[in-house]
């Protein structure tokens, strides 16, 4: 077969941050196939040096607008670990609500505004307004608003939260506000089902592609792990030493490239909703399991495109679990609590958390005055870059006979399925290979 074409997608759209796709095929042979991350580096780890322990949270929140609550919580967990701070049960419950709020917000944005237009055959959500899909758009908008208002209520603000501080909360919602939120979450069930039905009606557009890989996420016996848990892998099982996370993440530089890759048992691994589903799916709320059955999604799914469906499944879980968390908080009765006492001391702390795009780790070393001397942040999207590349390397040969435009669209869909958050990941990936 003889076929020549090249694909150059500069700045993939409807993803967070700047990434390019480059493909060059000559005589049916792939000469070049690259997923490139061209985002300007921002040097957060350098900027944290010399900052007081109280400032680490507000600064690292600015790593990412979409997952600022997740970064805030990872930051607080690392800081509190370094300082030996124990948070109250109420704080732990409210923080779980905060992470659900972000998951809801991020997942519905991704499903509704970033992926759905593709499945419906348009370039963005705007052309859908005024079309037969107007109602669906408005339903998604309503769910997105609910998620944001939930985050506003718990965190003071959705993007760059305010109330999340070392040792607890600077302010908390009232019981009346939580009750109102509970009502709205219950009322949202119908809308969610309708959105799931719309996605289901176009689910045949989701490419049927699989590649075996390793999945990594936090796990715990108590719940579907988001806020707390131990490192877990589909290949090697649980790793209890959370401070030795580097044994799992193994960030490394590729020859002739500046990218920090991550790999563990294989040449790459995946984190995110699909990884969590694959590892912890049995702990999902029954309502969420219904949605996964509806789409035929079962652990272990090796189709990265199904990450979007796993996000939809998690959306339902987060709604149900939030309702239960609010019930627990109300049963216990809300108390005005001062943040847990901090005794400033030197030490190292590590915070692990599951954010919408996967495992996030902050690692700080503080000096005896509470100033940061060293910081390391392991970002979900960085852990996925190598997996995206390897998926592309398997995918392109499988679809090489299709028109280049279709190949390009499928590759863009693949990147979008990972829901990458490129502003978080400031590294450059430069792998080329010749498929002879």
């Amino acid at each position: 077969m003889s076929k020549d074409f090249s694909i150059h997608v500069e700045h993939v759209t409807r993803v967070e941050g700047h990434g390019n796709i480059e493909v060059d095929v000559k005589d049916g042979k792939i000469n070049k196939l690259q997923w490139q991350v061209v985002e300007a580096p921002r040097f957060f780890e350098a900027m944290l040096r010399g900052q007081n322990y109280n400032e680490l949270r507000p600064i690292t929140s600015r790593i990412c607008g979409i997952c600022s609550i997740g970064h805030s919580l990872a930051s607080l967990k690392a800081t509190e670990d370094a300082l030996g701070v124990k948070i109250s049960e109420q704080t732990a419950l409210l923080r779980r609500l905060a992470i659900h709020g972000e998951n809801l917000q991020s997942h519905i944005l991704q499903i509704g505004n970033l992926v759905a237009p593709e499945l419906l055959g348009v370039g963005s959500v705007f052309p859908l307004i005024g079309s037969k899909h107007t109602e669906s758009v408005l339903k998604i908008v309503k769910l997105h608003r609910l998620a944001n208002e939930m985050s506003d209520l718990i965190c003071g603000r959705t993007i760059h939260p305010i109330r999340l501080i070392v040792g607890g909360f600077s302010a908390i919602p009232t019981e009346k506000q939580l009750l109102a939120l509970r009502t709205r979450l219950k009322e949202s069930r119908g809308l969610t089902n309708e959105v799931a039905a719309v996605i289901h009606s176009v689910a045949d557009k989701i490419p049927n592609f699989t590649r075996e890989t390793e999945y990594i996420a936090l796990s715990t016996d108590d719940e579907y792990a988001l806020y707390d848990g131990v490192l877990n892998s589909t290949d090697t099982g649980k790793h209890l030493e959370y401070r030795n996370y580097q044994e799992i993440t193994n960030e490394y530089l590729v020859p002739h490239s500046t990218a920090k890759y991550a790999k563990h048992a294989r040449k790459s691994y995946m984190v995110g909703a699909l990884a969590r589903f694959n590892l912890n799916g049995s702990q999902l709320h029954p309502a969420a399991k219904e949605v996964s059955s509806m789409f035929g999604l079962k652990p272990i799914s090796y189709n990265p495109f199904m990450n979007t469906i796993a996000q939809l499944v998690e959306f339902v879980h987060s709604v149900e679990d939030s309702i239960e968390l609010i019930d627990t908080l109300l049963e216990q009765g809300l108390r005005e609590e001062k943040p847990a006492k901090v005794k400033v001391q030197a030490g190292r702390g590590v915070g692990l958390i599951e954010v919408p795009r996967g495992l996030l780790i902050h690692d700080y070393t503080l000096n005896s005055k509470g100033y940061c001397t060293k910081a390391n942040c392991i970002i979900p999207t960085n852990q996925n870059h190598a997996n995206i590349q390897h998926d592309m390397e398997k995918l392109v040969p499988e679809i090489i006979d299709r028109p280049p435009k279709e190949i390009e669209l499928t590759l863009e869909m693949l990147v979008r399925a990972y829901d990458p958050c490129i502003s978080c990941s400031t590294h450059y990936l430069d792998v080329s290979f010749v498929n002879g």
Partner: protein
């Protein structure tokens, strides 16, 4: 009917949170697209046009390749709006200007040989107006959605947007908050431009100065504060590094 102004949104080094604030307008976006045409907005749409009247630019400028892209955007736009602290004054991204670019490169990327790689050809962080002229500013980290609507609507109607020139304290008092200084905290509200509805003190947190400093901060008032709460100018300087490091270079103070 007059044609609607064409609006394009661009981002440089930042968290894209301000763009997300636009998406978070939810149903109100529909009102906005009644008065403007959004022709490019990479974060949420695939469609793109190089013909636009108003460019809304988010993020800081870190590299020659970013400068070139920004100049190209400026040459096409009649009006350029800098959106968010990274764009208006460098914001968080200027924390690293305390050190030389080589030093921060080593801190994050170690000994990797990045010589000649344009993606890593990094200079000290610049705000947008250190590279090209800016017509209007939407301050904050993140921006306030109401202020965004006000600025864009004003520009579309050919009016000058009203941006507060008084300190955050004015809005904070309106909200009947207890002063953060009275609670033992160190707040930048007295010297920071209002317009955020004093959102941070209202959630019992300090102002970090993300909207920039007001030019004529009541110096006597600040002196008085320092005396009353036993603080030094060095304390103020340190507190300002989070958003206002090197803000003199972009001179957006009013």
């Amino acid at each position: 009917m007059k044609t609607k102004p064409r609006v394009a949104v661009f981002d440089f080094a930042d968290c894209e949170g301000c763009e997300l604030e636009i998406a978070d307008l939810e149903e109100e976006i529909l009102e906005l697209i009644d008065i403007v045409d959004i022709v490019s907005f990479r974060e949420v749409m695939k469609e793109h046009s190089d013909t636009y009247d108003i460019a809304i630019v988010e993020g800081s400028i870190m590299r020659p390749m970013d400068e070139a892209r920004l100049r190209n955007i400026r040459s096409k736009a009649k009006i350029l709006v800098a959106m968010g602290a990274c764009a208006t004054m460098g914001g968080i991204n200027k924390i690293r200007n305390q050190w030389m670019p080589d030093d921060v490169m080593t801190a994050v990327y170690g000994d990797a040989d990045l010589e000649g790689n344009p993606l890593f050809d990094v200079f000290k962080t610049k705000a947008i107006n250190e590279v090209v002229p800016v017509n209007y500013y939407i301050h904050g980290c993140p921006i306030d959605r109401d202020e965004f609507k006000h600025v864009i609507t004003s520009i579309a109607l050919g009016k000058k947007p009203e941006i507060p020139r008084y300190p955050v304290c004015v809005e904070c008092k309106k909200n009947e908050n207890i002063c953060q200084f009275e609670l033992g905290a160190f707040c930048l509200g007295p010297i920071t431009r209002a317009g955020c509805k004093a959102i941070c003190p209202t959630h019992n947190s300090v102002c970090e100065g993300c909207r920039g400093l007001i030019k004529k901060a009541e110096t006597d008032c600040v002196k008085d504060l320092l005396e009353r709460y036993k603080l030094s100018y060095e304390d103020i300087r340190r507190r300002c590094t989070m958003y206002n490091f090197g803000r003199e270079e972009c001179g957006v103070d009013e």
